[in-house]
């Protein structure tokens, strides 16, 4: 039923697209991006300035995006993959190289985003937003210091923890406690972290990737491992109650990027939109609505001191951060390990 409704919506969308293109003869841009990640005002301003109509279709996971992109059912001009998916897409030769001459604002992107393993020279992608995954603590309920995964996953916190419902995330945290990074996902290491996860999962009360902040705000749980953007919102909504800590064992950093798929039809519009997004005042607007780490250093200068001081958006110090890598078919093993231990720990 849902699938059918989806199909009907897509058909409707196509119809609207065809009609509007025919009537105005206007240029179009088909943007396929995460839900709740690109402010509508940014799209509207772009359309007003350039006359290019932006069709924003959204997805809720990288894999969902890949599934639709690879099916070829619709053509997209810009996609918003995370770093490990950029790596996989480049490997499979699915992205168009960017024309840097058309992207003068690329100079605003921080130097630390160069040299990343997924796309070291930003040949195929530009960073859109960056974030971390860290620990949130409700200080009204938890008095002991929690500095890392080892402090968090303790018996005394049983039934008081929310974590992301994401197999690869949780496996990465367990790897960190063994001194291993996200690039170390192998069959042997998965067996190595099995006992760690077998001890952790029975302590978890809620698995939620979409809105882990809800269980914390409702007071159903007191600690959690969540996206930094969710933590930033919690800190903003209940000042003084929540703190955000990057685990001392090492934390996962994600970089969400914009890239142009091979099948894109409006390559020129895509470049114009990319460059527009990298204007400092536009990038600032995105930060206002989605308080992740803005890779645009010129935009950061436009933020308020409070925004810059939010430790979830801009973590102080020099934390140990690493990105995911494409793990190919091992994804199925990661999923199986998580499914198995979850079922055994569950009620």
């Amino acid at each position: 039923m849902i699938r059918f409704a989806g199909r009907a919506l897509v058909a409707l969308g196509l119809l609207v697209g065809v009609v509007s293109a025919a009537s105005a003869g206007a240029e179009e841009l088909n943007l396929f991006a995460w839900s709740e990640y690109v402010p509508q005002s940014v799209l509207d301003d772009f359309t007003e300035e350039t006359g290019i109509q932006v069709n924003y279709e959204s997805y809720a996971s990288n894999e969902e995006m890949l599934a639709k992109l690879m099916s070829g059912a619709a053509s997209y001009d810009l996609i918003q993959p995370s770093e490990y998916v950029v790596e996989a897409l480049v490997k499979e030769n699915q992205l168009l190289p960017l024309d840097h001459a058309k992207l003068p604002n690329l100079k605003n992107i921080g130097k630390e985003y160069l040299g990343q393993p997924h796309d070291p020279k930003l040949t195929y992608s530009v960073p859109y937003m960056q974030g971390t995954v860290g620990i949130v603590i409700d200080t009204q309920k938890v008095k002991d210091p929690v500095l890392g995964f080892g402090d968090l996953f303790q018996d005394k916190y049983k039934g008081r923890i929310v974590v992301l419902d994401d197999a690869l995330e949780i496996v990465t945290w367990a790897l960190a406690t063994q001194g291993l990074g996200p690039q170390d996902v192998t069959k042997e290491n998965l067996e190595k972290v099995r006992p760690v996860l077998a001890q952790w999962l029975p302590l978890v009360k809620v698995y939620d990737s979409d809105s882990p902040k809800t269980a914390l705000l409702n007071g159903d749980v007191d600690l959690g491992v969540v996206w930094s953007g969710e933590a930033a919102i919690l800190i903003d909504e209940a000042p003084g109650r929540f703190v955000y800590v990057l685990p001392k064992e090492g934390a996962h950093m994600f970089i969400d990027n914009m890239a142009i798929p091979k099948s894109a039809q409006n390559v020129d519009s895509a470049h114009r939109f990319l460059d527009y997004l990298m204007r400092p005042e536009v990038a600032k607007k995105i930060s206002d609505e989605f308080p992740y780490t803005n890779p645009n250093v010129e935009a950061r200068k436009l933020l308020t001191p409070e925004q810059r001081a939010n430790p979830a958006s801009y973590p102080p110090g020099d934390p140990k951060l690493s990105t995911f890598r494409d793990i190919g078919a091992l994804g199925a093993d990661v999923d199986k390990l998580f499914t198995d231990l979850k079922a055994k720990s569950g009620s």
Binding site: V206, K336, K342, S347
Partner: protein, 295 residues
């Protein structure tokens, strides 16, 4: 004793195949079924024998490894658990839905339409919103806990949300109308004279219920059981929202193969095919039992 029911069964009569005009009238339905039921099922079946593609999708071929994986204890445990949850949901819906349906079916015309309306009203709101409403009721400082504390029945909030119990409550709540409506339509057609006859002939209320009322309303029961069991086996939103994602069901596992890290479409297709075969089996069993009851 079964004869009582038999003489009133019209379903047992011989049926003619539709003529040329009949097929013409049926053609839109046939086309719809082929396009949206048969074709997707065939695609799923073909995918289930293929191999995993690198970026999702499939590499065509023939392998049985996806079905071997379904039988893997890790997944088999979840398949069995899903069947148990669906069975429990069906039993609870039947136990709660039958009396309600009977009451509605036996009340006056005016009351019937009012009560039926009451059963249907929840459908006016999205299923997801109604499920989130249960979060508000069951959460730590939610409506139910506040109410119980107010009346001093408990001193500490009960652990209600994010438990298997919450999942069952959500499932029963979601599917109860699907049990009530078909049973109601059977009860409504029930001839009161037959019940009176049974009582006159010396059957007690219990005997009249089990030997007359239940067999006569069995088509409604069968339809209700199917309408509840089948969707509750595949659903995954209720256990994500009310179970805190702790109680994975077969639907969650299938979702992960397409939208999660696994990116393993052929395995997802194999799980889907297994589910389809289970449905067909349940349908066949219910139907066979139905024919036996009807004589």
């Amino acid at each position: 004793m079964r004869q009582e029911a038999t003489s009133f069964s019209t379903a047992a009569g011989p049926r003619k195949p539709p003529g040329r005009i009949g097929w013409l009238l049926l053609s839109p339905l046939v086309a719809w079924v082929v396009a949206f039921v048969v074709a997707p099922a065939v695609i799923m079946l073909v995918y289930s024998f293929a191999r995993r593609g690198t970026l999702g999708g499939v590499v065509f071929g023939f392998t049985l490894e996806n079905y071997a994986a379904v039988a893997d204890p890790v997944y088999l445990r979840i398949v069995i658990r899903s069947i148990l949850y669906a069975t429990l949901t069906t039993i609870l819906c039947l136990a709660m839905g039958y009396p309600v349906a009977y009451l509605i079916g036996r009340s006056s015309q005016r009351w019937q339409s009012l009560l039926l309306m009451a059963v249907m009203v929840p459908f006016w709101t999205s299923f997801l919103i109604r499920t989130y409403a249960w979060v508000t009721i069951l959460k730590n400082q939610g409506l139910l806990n506040s109410l119980l504390m107010q009346f001093q029945l408990i001193s500490q909030p009960l652990e209600l949300l994010y438990t298997p119990g919450a999942v069952v409550v959500g499932l029963v709540y979601t599917f109860l109308p699907f049990m009530i409506l078909p049973i109601y339509s059977s009860v409504e057609k029930l001839d009161g004279a037959l019940i009176e006859a049974a009582l006159d002939l010396g059957a007690g209320p219990l005997r009249a219920f089990s030997r007359v009322i239940v067999p006569l309303t069995s088509p409604g029961i069968a339809a209700g059981v199917l309408l509840v069991f089948v969707p509750s086996l595949g659903i995954y939103a209720v256990n994500d929202i009310l179970g805190g994602g702790r109680v994975d069901m077969i639907g969650n596992i299938i979702e992960n193969q397409f939208k999660g890290n696994a990116r393993n479409w052929p395995f997802g297709a194999a799980l889907g095919t297994t589910l389809l075969v289970t449905f067909a089996l349940v349908y066949w069993l219910v139907n066979r039992r139905q024919r036996m009851v009807m004589g």
